[in-house]
């Protein structure tokens, strides 16, 4: 059943076929630049992502106030003003400062989680595709079992048991994303492992590691790059959702989903406290998805 259904269900895997796997000569940066300039969508995406990355890196210098500085006197008039140009929240904390620091949080946790998933998934996918047989069956079977859990339910189960922390969020995201990435890499591996240049490498007496890492893996670069940005988008949503549900990063450090949750009950009185962080997280995800779209177009054209 999985063969019919799941391949269609995963956009990244489809893009594999679309993108073709022949992009080995372009450097990584060159391709990113092409993604950012190939289409207006890609450019917009790059601009949005660039803005938040800038905020995240320079948070200590940009943020006008400490993110957790409480000032009850300000709550009397929490709306945007010259001093607090996005206003303050229900505890009198400066929203702009919390946004900037929140960017740093999400742009640290999400890439770490996605890179972890990519590393694990790539390794398992290469192994499953190259070895075949029982190795393949076991790896894919375990992956399918993990995928059978609706993601958010799996998060809830794990977090109910082990509590909420940045590490647990990273682990859970790694666990749920790795099987999908493994599928992408496995598909590429199956496709190229019988080509002549792989056979040549084997005859030369190269080690399995060399063949996997230098002969086969480069073919998966294109699809993996597109998947990386799409997955960053999903992961940011996931982190936001966990924060909103109250099982995300522990307070008081700023986390966009958590900010929405804290102010949500006051939306009738002070809507800006909820709307601003909600807009921030939406814009970042849009940025990554646009960037992925631009990248895919660059892959198609190049």
């Amino acid at each position: 059943m999985n063969d019919v259904g799941q391949d269609i269900a995963r956009p990244a895997e489809r893009s594999l076929a679309e993108a073709g796997a022949e992009t080995r000569n372009a450097g990584r940066l060159a391709r990113l630049r092409r993604a950012a300039t190939a289409s207006s969508v890609g450019t917009i995406g790059a601009a949005i992502v660039g803005f938040w990355v800038f905020c995240a890196i320079f948070a200590p210098w940009i943020a006008p106030y400490p993110p957790n500085q409480v000032d009850p006197a300000l709550v009397a008039d929490p709306y945007p003003s010259a001093d607090h140009w996005l206003g303050v929240d229900h505890l009198g904390r400066d929203i702009a400062s919390r946004l900037v620091w929140g960017a740093r949080t999400v742009l640290t946790v999400a890439p770490v989680a996605v890179l972890g998933a990519a590393a694990l998934g790539t390794m398992l996918g290469l192994l499953a595709g190259y070895r075949g047989g029982r190795t393949d069956a076991v790896i894919m079977r375990v992956g399918d079992t993990l995928l059978a859990f609706p993601k958010i339910i799996l998060y809830l189960i794990v977090i109910a048991r082990f509590g909420a922390s940045a590490l647990n969020i990273v682990l859970v995201i790694t666990l749920t994303a790795a099987p999908i990435i493994a599928r992408i890499v496995r598909a590429v591996t199956l496709d190229v492992k019988n080509r002549d240049y792989v056979a040549a490498a084997r005859l030369r007496g190269e080690s399995t590691f060399y063949i996997l890492a230098y002969e086969i893996l480069p073919n998966a670069r294109g699809p993996l790059a597109v998947d990386f940005f799409l997955r960053l988008g999903y992961t940011i949503i996931a982190i936001g959702v966990l924060g909103f549900l109250g099982v995300g990063l522990p307070p008081p450090d700023p986390d966009w989903g958590g900010m929405v949750k804290e102010a949500y009950g006051m939306i009738f009185v002070w809507p800006h406290m909820t709307l601003i962080p909600a807009a921030a997280i939406s814009s970042l995800v849009i940025g990554f998805n646009f960037l992925a779209a631009g990248l895919r177009e660059a892959e198609l054209d190049g």
Binding site: G5, I8, P150, I152, I153, L156, V247, F268, L275, A278
Partner: protein, 312 residues
């Protein structure tokens, strides 16, 4: 065909068994915690010990798992200590509510995304295609809670034309149907974004087929080419995806249910996770996985029915 279904069902049972073991092991491998969790941090050690024996927690894990599984097979999932009722009573009520919300959303999402997807895909890179693609990409990018908050700010806080919560009772003064509008809208925007792009991609591929070109070249009106020749084939591929959305709709509604205080399955699971209501978590996990796998199976069957080239 019957053999295929039988094999998939057997496959499903095995997966469910593995899942049940995993979830059970995760929650009950250290049984001391269970009694402690049930009684809270202020109970004395004696009380914990008494409950420990009452629950049979002094038995080995394998024995307890077998007992739990035996009861679960008869539909008895134990008692929720938060709700103080049998898990099965709470669970099926909540699941029915979620299925209702899912069904309504599904009825809106599918026509909406087929329409936009076909419109976008029939002329690749046309202005319509560009705008629909950007629209669907933006929709799929906005997390449900953010979309919920935006819609809430517009329709409830600003215009005041819709209720902000959906408890499914009329005590708030709003008719029940109006309580569905915002949750369904949120789900539609989020989910349709994905579906539209799937259907668009498929439509683009179909429009490149020789038989479509033939139809156009022999002078058939474009509208007829699209509706008669292309559309049916364009919908086959995303069909499975459409059915997979059912699965998202059943278990992915946690966020929407939380935003609008809708008494559904997702919120039950969230509350159970926060309160460490183990019996509910275990039963809910099984139900969620079963629903996922069933929809996949139905999807595959429907796919085969639609496309006779695929045979097992």
């Amino acid at each position: 065909m019957p053999r295929y279904v039988a094999r998939q069902l057997a496959n499903m049972l095995v997966t469910l068994l593995v899942v049940s073991m995993l979830v059970f092991a995760l929650n009950e491998l250290t049984p001391g915690d269970v009694a402690r969790k049930l009684l809270g941090p202020y109970a004395s050690q004696e009380q914990v010990d008494v409950l420990y024996e009452e629950l049979g927690l002094d038995q080995p894990v394998a024995v307890r798992y077998a007992e739990w599984l035996g009861k679960a097979l008869t539909g008895d999932f134990g008692e929720s200590y938060v709700h103080r009722r049998a898990v099965s009573e709470v669970l099926w009520d909540r699941l029915a509510n979620t299925l209702l919300l899912a069904a309504v959303s599904f009825a809106v999402i599918v026509p909406f995304s087929v329409l936009l997807g076909v419109l976008a895909g029939m002329r690749e890179r046309s202005p319509i295609d560009r705008s629909v693609s950007v629209f669907s990409s933006v929709c799929a990018s906005i997390p449900e809670f953010a979309m919920g908050v935006f819609l809430l700010a517009i329709f409830v806080v600003w215009l005041g034309v819709l209720p902000g919560t959906s408890p499914l009772t009329t005590s708030g003064g709003w008719p029940v149907w109006s309580q569905f509008v915002l949750p369904v809208l949120v789900v539609t925007f989020y989910d349709a974004g994905y579906l539209i792009s799937m259907i668009r991609t498929s439509m683009v591929e179909v429009m490149r087929q020789p038989y479509v070109r033939t139809a156009v070249l022999k002078g058939m009106p474009f509208r007829r080419v699209v509706t008669r020749h292309a559309m049916r084939n364009a919908i086959i591929t995303p069909f499975t995806v459409i059915l997979l959305q059912l699965n998202y709709l059943v278990s992915g509604l946690v966020v929407v249910e939380t935003v609008f205080a809708y008494p559904g399955f997702g919120r039950l699971m969230l509350e159970a996770a926060l309160a460490k209501d183990i019996a509910v978590i275990e039963a809910g996990a099984l139900v969620a996985v079963a629903v996922t796998m069933l929809t996949q199976l139905i999807g595959d069957l429907g796919y085969m029915a639609l496309d006779p080239r695929i045979r097992v």
